[in-house]
Symmetry: D3
Subunit: 323 residues, 6 copies
């Protein structure tokens, strides 16, 4: 997707130019894994044009394998972004209908070839929201991944501008049985799957995780928990539920340069950490620190390095100049 942002804090009505960034939920996750030194390939469908070429060149430059991307269809998804400030929320205008991916059909992807050599498959709830064809492609990918013994992770990523909670629940629920690791938030889980966890229960994350595992048979559930007081600052943390236990992270107070992509940065870092064999307490701290840093980076990609994330896990963050 092409993201077109108004400069600084300008509103849509004021913008004489847009800053261009390329991204997308799964692409962002792949970038995170690759930036930390992992190996990641990205699969999607994009048109044969110069904008899509640029998007792929960026990913390739960041060490994401894009050789399995399918070319075709007529347009790259676009969204317009207006950064909020203080009491004014960030605003998004989606223009992603009819994108190459939204018009993807199951036959476009040869999952057996795509999964050759892979051991993990990650997908996001945004993709099936695009169109029935995209949803069907997700379903086939999940089945193929499971059939080949890949670990499957899933980030719910509910977008109210794309579908209703009811639609989302109806489409996603049957796919959940293929998922090993589910990434969401207690609030999202309640909205989409209707779990009856009170929003203000002190152990709401653990209860939501248990309910998700009970319902869908997930091995692990990661729940992010954001508390924002304004568009400029957030309080950020998460809980990983694994082996029947909840591992809450410490919470970080983070000033925001660009909030978008934080959830993907969380997913990417969590995947990287789990893939390299970190235990749950370490993995959840790594994922929270990585995504905290992503809030301070313009664009959807998390360009924080492994060393930077580990320094923040280790207690840095006080703002000393590195010189």
């Amino acid at each position: 997707m092409l993201r077109l942002s108004t400069p600084g804090h300008l509103r849509f009505g004021q913008a004489a130019e847009f800053t261009a960034n390329y991204g997308g939920a799964e692409a962002n996750v792949a970038v995170s894994v690759a930036q930390f030194g992992g190996s990641a390939a990205y699969v999607t469908r994009v048109p044969e044009n110069d904008l899509a070429d640029r998007a792929l060149a960026e990913l390739r430059g960041l060490r994401v394998d894009v050789d399995r991307v399918v070319r075709g269809g007529s347009r790259l998804g676009v969204y317009f972004l207006e950064h909020g400030a203080s009491v004014r929320p960030t605003k998004v205008i989606y223009d992603r209908a009819h994108s190459s991916m939204a018009e993807a059909e199951p036959g476009h992807f040869d999952w057996d070839a795509i999964f050759q050599g892979a051991r993990w498959f990650h997908w996001s709830g945004i993709t099936p929201a695009l169109s029935p064809g995209a949803a069907e492609a997700c379903a086939q990918a999940c089945a193929a991944a499971r059939g080949r013994g890949l670990t499957v992770s899933f980030d719910l990523n509910y977008r109210a501008k794309l579908w209703s909670p009811a639609e989302a629940g109806r489409v996603l629920a049957p796919l959940m049985r293929h998922v090993d690791l589910c990434i969401t938030s207690a609030e999202e889980a309640r909205t989409i799957f209707g779990f009856d966890v009170p929003a203000d229960a002190p152990d709401k994350d653990e209860r939501a995780a248990r309910a998700l595992c009970a319902e869908f048979g997930f091995q692990q559930v990661a729940l992010t928990a954001r508390q924002s007081s304004s568009a400029d600052e957030t309080d950020w943390g998460a809980t990983l539920f694994a082996n029947g236990e909840a591992y809450p992270s410490r919470r970080l107070r983070v000033g925001i340069v660009d909030r978008l992509g934080a959830g993907d940065a969380f997913s990417g870092a969590l995947l990287f950490s789990l893939m390299r064999g970190d235990e749950p307490p370490g993995a959840i701290e790594f994922a929270v620190a990585a995504s905290a840093l992503q809030h301070t980076i313009y664009g959807d990609y998390n360009l924080a390095t492994l060393a930077e994330v580990e320094a923040l896990v280790g207690g840095a963050g006080g703002g000393r100049v590195q010189r």
Copy 2:
């Protein structure tokens, strides 16, 4: 007026370019009313040149009727703006002497024609500060407005770089009898009209409002109350005094993108709210929320929408992305 701002936080001595915005106290008020869906016409005098054309095109684009603007004179007023940060205050260099409006004379305006079809007239204390001719034009406008039965509102808007408190008081006092709604602050009222309200009295706003009504016979008085700790953040609220009672708003903590125009946004929103028949408690909350949002918008105009203001009145502001 043409506002020329240094980019970002650069000082005047560093700026190799200036960002251009057009505005002016009454123009900003008109934009607010028009943006919320009200009907507003703006009256001023600007020269016949391309800069003035641009200023009028912007206003026209924002649905402000500029057909009654008088063309003539030799220059558009200019001011240079350096945005402050933290302990460094925002700085303004005025270059508005000899502007077309400063050189306006009463004969330039045919108030009867101008007020055709109008029901409300709003003016600001900056205009009579420009020159005796501009002050005389204000006086004639007030008289004509009152004569035609328009509601007259007035924003004191004292500018120390334009005139002294004594001068301001001397020129403005006689005009006050035409005013129905006076917008100012307790501190301004004390400075200009010499009311003896202690700056730290807990009920200083109510006492100032009562004094103003007693002295000048206003129907309503709105007093804004800003408490700034730095150039980056402010605490913002206001009180509307109407029917002998004070209606204080809740107070908002607001991060600042651009402070200029906040007072005009308050006036514009208050006018809109009162014109559509809101009761004082609702009107003052609407005006405070609208002007809080304006602090987060670059330029003098308040480009917040009616829906956004109402969402903030209703408790939004926590920074959630709208997607």
Copy 3:
């Protein structure tokens, strides 16, 4: 030196352009003195090229005398700067090896001619860190300055990317006997000179200052004390130790536009204040206020005016627009 910064909060990997600023520790100090109305000349060695010409033109424009600058060598020192945000620290890539100054040799400077008419000599610990030749030039300058009866001030300015604490201590210690006023921090003094002052002692600044005076015979010691919680904000203050007594400043909470050069702004303001005869309590407040303002100014130079510093000393800083 040429500083090349990524725009806004972009990371090095994202930058398609760099903002150019010129500076350097001693140059920044000279600018401060000259901006406040003092007389300052800057001595260094820069190549014969257009970039160095631009650097000198800027300094000359700001009233710094650059007529004693030596031209020669092959390159201007460069450093690349990535501004941090919140939990992400600011990052510097030095590219100053082999600069004209790093390749300076003692014979390049005729200190007797240079010090003609001077009464004060200030140098920074960065210069001897560049190369043995630069260190030798510093030593000769110190000796010549002392020989001519100039007051000598020194800012330790330790840079871990240039040398180790042990190297710094070994090179700097013998030069300290020429120094009248030493500017550093308790932490730096401990790191470089090994004073055994516990980092959390409440009177650690005073104890460090006493130890420095005892060891090196300084007349005065100024210790800055920064406490940062993030890359966006800092708590800032200092202590001046003179005549056997410690004069701590009040502490200021400062939002950060650009942290670089704050130490130099402190030194420059302190020198100016002492040169004009301020007493220690006034001098340290002036220096802290000046460097607090410098945090709000882009680039290494402190472009705050004398009046602005004095206003902040006097209690301003609340963010009121000057209009």
Copy 4:
């Protein structure tokens, strides 16, 4: 439509930002008429979002009446533009499928209400190329306009990326009987309608015009004739065929700032000139001069003034500074 251009001469693959301009064939024509002092209303269908609001605000600011614009559908048409240079041609990526206008249906427009008070209707061949629904809307508009006695002008504006010549001919031919003034080029006419005029005949424009009139019964035909040697410069002229006679303009050599919108500028100026009663020789010179100036203006709108066009008609253009 939203046009998103790469800055300067950057290629799509290099652009980190896009400059935003709003336009569209008929909108550009309306702007020309309004800028010269004529009265023009623009009719189209755009979605209910902030980008469309901005597009309409720009037009309203330029005095184009947009009150008859229909709101609905899901997206504003977009195109991406890469400015060529010298031997490298300008490149366009269209992303206008599924725009609100492409999905317009005849029932969306109440032509009788729309044409209230109008005396001229202009449309472009791009609109029916968008979709069958848009083509049907054009047909109904033409019929309604003719039925109400409006003069109908039409700019063929063939776009190879939207449809084939055969499709264009098939859709457009039946609509031609409603057209009074047809604007095209000899080459376009040959391509779309298959007139057998040799490309190198010296009188090819006159012959094409006669053939068009004979075939479709046009009152007038205007044929532009561009001869480009590079992306930077063009040779520009036109012929108006009216009352059975051909009126060729003088030819101008024009350096190009931005080629897009030149044809619309020609149409707009020709309409304005004919509407105010200019004779053919004057009208064609006015239209050629106006569109020559438009080549020197960034964006699709022709922002040249009436005085500037008339000066160029009168022989200016030599580059003397106006001071």
Copy 5:
């Protein structure tokens, strides 16, 4: 003066920002002399504000002595600039009335102190056009300069937006007796002083020069001769008339980056060349080459170096990269 230019080729109505450059006819001349290595001081009157400080800092940085500049009055002169292209001329909006210099009075300048140590005085015809006070200051300066034996040079620099030819002639004629070297063009001389030299006479420059010497007793006359075919390119040359003989330069075809300041660059280079003792043929070639280069430099100052001018005099200019 502060020059505010629209970026690139944007029109005034399109500009959301202005590029700031500082200049002025005599300042530009001083910069040229100083950049080539000469010694130059600039005298004017500017207000006490940050914009004037910046203007002076730039000049000081470029080695122009600004210590004799008088501070006072209320505003810096401003002009707005829209760069033309091809058939569209460059456009200027002056906003210099009431500037500090326009409101200068003779008593503001102590010419005896100002001319201390000087040997040459240069002034431009723009200054007396500003106001009677400025004209009177010019007259006193000329008399004082002549009285002290300085060489006096004068650049006619007629600006139609400031005064009429008749006014210019009336004010300037009496001052001409103080002038040794007059710089103008044949066309200007005819317009202002009414010499009857046909515009198309092949020897019109020589005849105009002879007439000027005969009328006013000039020692030398330099006449520039520009022939522009568009806003992008010019044909440029000049003639120096000295010792009763005309020395025409070769003519150069020059592409234009920024035309403003070319005449001042010519004057500055001519002064420098004559001051260092060049003979007329060398001096006129130097001045033409210098001002040709200035056409390729953004802003009013000529930042070409002595070596670059001499290389162009020597036949360079073919565009080879210097690497």
Copy 6:
């Protein structure tokens, strides 16, 4: 290398920012080959820092294999670029001494591993100019390439700022025996190797090529022939000498957006064309068209596509918009 260019036509002394591009002679060649669809790996030595990471990411994104790049040393080479205009030449300030590549030593490269799977080796005369170590690395690479049967091509690329003709000749001559295809110009060959071909001989290219083959035993020689009249435009063509015959290309007149990298674009296109088996006449036309297009593209890389080059070979270039 990092190239830092002043924006637009600004001079070094005016630039407040620099545009960053990454490139280098051999990197540019590799990009050309990869962009046309060939397979290319780039070998160099760069430091372990974020700037080098960015440089490699760009190349990787453009499909150049950078896995064989050696990391080490302390700095990336830098050069500063000021784009000329018209009579003002483009200017370069090199700052590449002590770069990681300049400090490379033969032991840094394992040529046998590097050449695994390769069939062609290309190098440029800039590399041995950097330092004796770099020259030695070139010598070893040539020998290893020849030993493994690779075709070796060489672009002389003489840079007067790096070494004298005599030095260049002395270092390069012994390496020539490893070279199959030599790319240079008649003028360069004369300067460096002293061939006695008159600069104005009509067959000077053929004579130079014959002399080079006779002296060094090249299989093929390609000679570019640029004729510039200004910094804005060039006349461009080349001759390929192969099998004892000269194949001159047609000549193209090209407007210049950015001249740097044109020679590398020629080399890259020639290599691609020869590698895919084009005959000499086709190869030289392809290479000239490709490098003509590169003049119109900002930065050192040739981002023209295969289709665009072939269109220009086939006669396009007339500036028609592709829409």
